[in-house]
């Protein structure tokens, strides 16, 4: 009898949790939908903002082409592409047909930028800057100045006092995304844990399980099995968004997200395990599926309040939230993305979370052991904590 599972019966329970779930059509379906949503969330904004290649600008002659090329250099390259048109009407047709984003045609005392329904600020500004630069260089030549002399003393540089790792909008987006991933996963899997527990109570199979293995092994098997499933789902989501980002040329975001990813996993696992213990208790307090609505309410609150806090609260509130157990799982990775957080802060937050998780899991195991075999009626939390061992 050297079988590992004999000494660690939780492995069998975890194995059953996982193998049951990955054959469950509802679970597979919801995972697929979630993946599609993630891919859509990554790709669609990129498509809408037109990051799918350089914008075509219709021009009539070499002078126009040179302006577009200069504008392209101003934007850092790969932003604009020249499309030749024979005359103004042809150029306008290219724009109205959508073949070109805009047209640059000669106008009174300079140029006219022609757009279809509206003009992108970026295009307009870049073209305007290019026209001004080129025009002024020409005018300077006529006045006997070199371009360098002309530009002397006009350089403007940028210096940020607290440079953020990501542009604001992207940072907010990724921050909300990470918190949302934790929230959705913890809620989804939490409900599944609670359901799985109450199913065993409802079908009375729990009596046989409890006679064969320690109840704690049953709890650990469930918590670990579902943690593995949840992490796998997150890896899938990460892979899907990675593919989406690479496909749409947004790989730059990864440079910022990657160092935080490891922290996110640590915060995720600890926060998830603590919550999993609570969800298992929510299941063990109920006697039927219908009871779950009320017994899971505290769990939903513990998850929802920190979620909105970590997404919408102001900076100092977020800082506090990033140390509060469970809230920290959502707030700290987000803070690390959007601001510079000294190393001791995530480490301290993890320490606090670790202590809290150990405490919560211990309490959960105690309550779970005492309520799992009570099939008479639904129990309240206060009542359950006061229960003595059976």
């Amino acid at each position: 009898m050297t079988d590992e599972t004999l000494r660690h019966p939780w492995q069998l329970v975890a194995h059953r949790e996982i193998s049951t779930k990955i054959r469950d059509k509802t679970f597979l379906g919801s995972t697929a939908v979630m993946l599609m949503l993630v891919v859509a969330a990554v790709i669609i904004p990129a498509l809408l903002s037109g990051h799918s290649g350089p914008d075509k600008i219709a021009v009539l002659n070499d002078a126009g082409a040179k302006i577009v090329q200069t504008a392209d250099q101003i934007k850092g390259g790969d932003s604009f592409e020249v499309t030749r048109a024979s005359d103004q009407a042809a150029a306008e047709r290219l724009v109205s047909d959508g073949d070109a984003k805009a047209a640059l045609v000669p106008g009174d005392n300079g140029y006219v930028v022609v757009g279809d329904q509206q003009l992108d600020d970026g295009i307009q500004n870049a073209l305007r800057e290019a026209v001004v630069n080129l025009g002024m260089e020409q005018n300077a030549g006529k006045a006997g100045l070199s371009p360098e002399q002309l530009r002397a003393g006009t350089a403007v540089q940028e210096r940020l006092l607290n440079p953020g790792p990501l542009p604001d909008i992207v940072a907010d987006f990724v921050n909300i995304g990470l918190a949302l991933v934790f929230y959705m996963t913890a809620l989804g899997f939490g409900m599944m844990i609670a359901q799985s527990v109450v199913q065993e109570k409802e079908s009375r199979v729990v009596e046989i399980l409890a006679a064969a293995i320690p109840i704690r092994a049953l709890l650990w098997g469930k918590v670990i099995g579902n943690t593995v499933l949840a992490l796998s789902q997150i890896v899938l989501i990460a892979a899907a968004s990675l593919i989406g980002l690479l496909a749409t040329g947004q790989a730059d975001i990864l440079k910022v997200v990657a160092p935080v990813a490891g922290w996110f996993v640590v915060f995720f696992v600890l926060g998830f395990v603590a919550l999993a213990g609570l969800w298992a208790v929510a299941g063990s307090l109920a006697t039927r599926q219908e009871d779950l609505g009320s017994t899971t309410l505290p769990g939903q609150m513990i998850l929802m309040i920190p979620f909105f806090f970590s997404v919408f609260a102001g900076s100092s509130a977020k800082t506090i939230a990033s140390f509060v157990p469970i809230a920290s799982s959502m707030a700290m990775p987000g803070r690390m993305l959007t601001e510079h957080v000294p190393l001791w802060q995530p480490l301290l937050a993890i320490l606090i979370l670790l202590v809290a998780t150990a405490g919560i899991v211990r309490l959960a195991a105690r309550v779970y052991e005492r309520t799992l075999l009570k099939t008479g009626r639904r129990l309240g939390y206060r009542e359950a904590i006061a229960l003595e061992a059976t």
């Binding site: 009596e207 046989i208 006679a211 064969a212 320690p214």
Partner: protein, 338 residues
């Protein structure tokens, strides 16, 4: 080269003769004492409860309950509803803690490791409704300590024994209730339990299904396994059980072999004649319990008196029936739990 082998369900002698046949140049140097001890710990175990007491708040559910379940014997556990049968069984299985008292196996306190080899069928039936029965039985086999291969073998065997091989891939809830009940007992037997505790195993079954279940138990349970089962169906207990424990209001009121409890030294006789048996009322030395036409039931005060009554009856006419009246188990039960 020395191999170390740990076996389950085999003894050293068997290993030696096996080595003799298959390893002409080898020998068994040592029979690993671990497996021997393991075996001794499990085979031929006597399951005992001593002084079991359980309180639920102010209610005393069990009051100093003691009895033995002897290896190789089926022990029937009877008592009215609420007498404490299920509570006792749940304490034996470790699902419920005793307020006082102890459950022991072969004289030592029952450990969780040994208990894991027990088979249990709880009063409230239940398996995973949405799990395939094959997966389900393998899972329970493994939960009780079988390795993967053995669990699969045993599941195959037990399913074909139950005639459910074709349904192996079906989800439990699609089976008829009778078949679900069979799978339930299979789940208690799949790991070749060293002791069986069955709470009302036959309730809700029709007589044919009861017979099938009894056959299954006889085939699947090795002779040395102690079996404790509770039941309301006394005639069934009488038919199947070797020993009996009667529980009333949390106390053991009778215990012992069924034959002794039921037969007893009977002093009641039954007589059926071809005429009217009313004359018995006037005979001295007997107490007439009942006379109805040609049939009479009477008690004798001393042994031998019944022979005189028989002679008297034969002189009066034909005797159609005569003999001692066996006490039905239900009378024992009623008497004990009164």
């Amino acid at each position: 080269m020395t191999l170390r082998v740990t076996l389950r369900g085999d003894v050293c002698g068997g290993l030696r003769s096996l080595a003799w046949e298959s390893l002409p140049n080898g020998s068994v140097r040592d029979c690993v004492p671990d497996s021997q001890r393991w075996l001794e710990e499990r085979v031929n175990g006597m399951l005992s409860v001593a002084g079991l007491t359980r309180r639920f708040g102010d209610h005393l559910a069990l009051d100093d309950v003691s009895f033995d379940v002897v290896p190789g014997r089926m022990t029937g556990f009877v008592g009215a509803n609420g007498a404490g049968k299920t509570t006792t069984m749940r304490i034996i299985l470790g699902v419920l803690a005793a307020t006082a008292g102890e459950v022991s196996w072969n004289g030592s306190p029952l450990t969780a490791a040994v208990r894991r080899d027990f088979g249990y069928m709880p009063e409230e039936r239940g398996l995973y409704p949405k799990m395939k029965i094959l997966d389900q039985l393998v899972f329970f086999g493994r939960l009780h300590g079988l390795d993967e291969r053995r669990a699969a073998e045993r599941t195959d065997k037990i399913l074909s024994r139950l005639g459910l091989s074709e349904r192996a891939g079906d989800v439990l809830e699609t089976l008829s209730l009778g078949n679900q009940q069979r799978v339930q007992i299979a789940a208690a037997l799949v790991h070749e339990p060293i002791a069986l505790v069955l709470d009302e195993p036959f309730s809700g079954l029709d007589p044919l299904a009861v017979d099938a279940m009894v056959d299954l138990l006889r085939d699947e349970v090795t002779p040395e396994v102690p079996v404790l089962f509770s039941s309301h169906q006394l005639e069934l207990v009488e038919r199947l059980c070797d020993d009996l424990v009667v529980l009333a209001r949390g106390k053991v009121v009778a215990a012992g072999p069924v034959a002794e409890l039921a037969a007893g030294p009977s002093t009641t006789y039954r007589l059926v004649v071809d005429g009217d048996a009313g004359w018995l009322r006037d005979v001295r030395g007997i107490t007439v319990r009942d006379v109805a036409g040609a049939t009479a039931l009477f008690d004798v005060a001393e042994r031998g008196r019944e022979q005189q009554i028989l002679a008297e009856a034969m002189s009066r006419g034909q005797v159609l029936e005569f003999g001692p009246e066996r006490v039905a188990l239900s009378d024992v039960f009623r008497e004990a739990t009164r």
